[in-house]
C-alpha cells in the first residue's frame, strides 16, 4: 500500500529541468499529493504562466510514477494560490547559491519594485553586496541578470515573485 509520503519521496527524485540542482518539491511546484486506494493525484502549479518547463515537469512526473509501477495516476495543474519564491526552503536557497544563482529575497509581494527602489543582492560567489542589475530578465523567466562589482562576475538572481 503506497502512502502519500512515498509519493512525495518519489517526486523528490524529479529535478527541475531548468535548475536541476533543485527538485520539483523543493521548488514548491508540487502543491498537493493525494492517495485514494490505488489512485494517486499530484497537483502542480507553474512558476510563471508561460514557463516552458511545465510540460516537461508534468511528463517527468508521469514517467517517474510509471517507473514506480503506480497504475492509476493523474497530474493536475492549478493557478491558485499563485506560486511564490517564499515556498522555497532554506536548503533549496543554499543549493541555489552554491550553484552560482543568487537566491530570491524573502519578501515576495515586493512594493519596492514598483517604486523603483534598488534592492541589494549579494553575489553568490564572493558574497559582496556591491552588485548591480544588468537586466530585469535573464536566462529563464524566473531569473534576472546581475553583475558583481567586486569579483566582476555576472550572475543570475532568482527573482522573488
Amino acid at each position: 500500500m503506497i502512502s502519500e509520503q512515498d509519493i512525495w519521496n518519489i517526486l523528490s527524485e524529479v529535478p527541475d529541468p531548468e535548475i536541476p540542482v533543485l527538485n520539483v518539491v523543493e521548488m514548491g511546484i508540487v502543491r498537493a499529493v493525494s492517495v485514494a486506494g490505488p489512485r494517486v493525484e499530484v497537483t502542480i502549479t507553474p512558476t510563471y504562466s508561460g514557463c516552458p518547463a511545465m510540460k516537461t515537469i508534468e511528463e517527468d512526473i508521469l514517467e517517474v510514477l510509471r517507473e514506480k509501477h503506480i497504475g492509476d495516476y493523474e497530474v493536475k495543474t492549478v493557478l491558485s494560490p499563485a506560486w511564490t519564491t517564499d515556498w522555497m526552503t532554506d536548503a533549496a536557497r543554499e543549493k541555489l547559491r552554491q550553484t552560482g544563482i543568487a537566491p530570491p529575497e524573502r519578501e515576495s509581494a515586493d512594493k519596492a519594485l514598483l517604486l523603483g527602489r534598488v534592492r541589494t543582492i549579494a553575489c553568490p560567489r564572493c558574497s559582496s553586496v556591491h552588485t548591480h542589475m544588468i537586466s530585469q530578465f535573464g536566462s529563464t523567466a524566473c531569473k534576472a541578470l546581475y553583475k558583481c562589482d567586486d569579483c566582476l562576475e555576472p550572475f543570475d538572481y532568482f527573482k522573488c515573485i
Binding site: Y48, L79, P81, Q136, F137
Partner: protein, 255 residues
Amino acid sequence: MNTTTRTAVPVGFLLQLADTSLILGQRLSEWCGHGPILEEDIALTNTALDYIGQSTNLYKQAALLDGRGQDEDDMAFHRDAWDFRNCLIAELPNGDYGFTITRQFLYSAWYYLYLQQLRQSPDEFLSGFAEKSIKEVRYHLQHSSDWVKRLGDGTPESHERMAHALAEIWPFTGEWFTPAETELEAIRLGSAPDPVPLRKEWRNLVESVLSEATLTIPEDGFMHLGGKEGRHTEYLGYMLADMQFLQRAYPGAKW
C-alpha cells in the same frame, strides 16, 4: 470547484482578455533576434512568454465554458480576425524600440491596475488568474518604466522618438476604459470589474513616470474603438496569417 460562480463569466469576456494577451505576446515575440541589445531581446521575449502563457490559461477556461470540445490551440489558431476580441493597441506593428516600449509601458500600467481589481472577482478562475498574472505584469511595468525614463530623458533623438510614439499610441488607450457588450455583461454579472473608474488612477501612474522622463502626457482626444467587438485594423489579418498558417495548413499538427 463551484460551478455556479464559474458559469457567470461570459466566454466573450475571457476571449477579450485572452486575445489581447496572445496578440501582444505574438507582436513582442517578433523582437526575438532583433532586440537593440541582447538583454532587451531577452526581456521582450520573456514578456511575450508571460503573455502567451496567460492567454493559454484563459483559452483553456474559455474552451471549458464554451463546452464544444475545443482546446486552447483551437481558440488561438482556428478563429479568424473578426472572431478576435483583442484591444487594437495589441495588434499595432512594433515600430521602433521606443514605440514598443511606450506601448508596453502604457499597457502594463493599465493591466497592472486592472488585474488588481480582477483579483477581487468572486469567480474562482478569474481571481486566481489575476493573482498569478499580476506578479508577472509587475515586472513588465518596472522594466518598461525604466526604459521610458531612460529614453525620454535621453538624447534629443530618443526624446523625440518617444514623444512621437506617445502621440501615435495615445488614441488607442481609450479602448480599455470603454467596455464592450460582453464586458458589460460580465460587469453586470459581478464577475468583472468596471474599468471606467480606473482611468484617473491610470493617468496618475502614467503621468508620474512620464514627468520623470521629461515627456508630456497627451490630452485625450479621438479614441479608436472596435477591437473588443471584432472590428480590427488591417494589421491583424497579416499577423494571423503568419501565426496560424501551420495549423490551418496541417490541422492538429504536433511536433
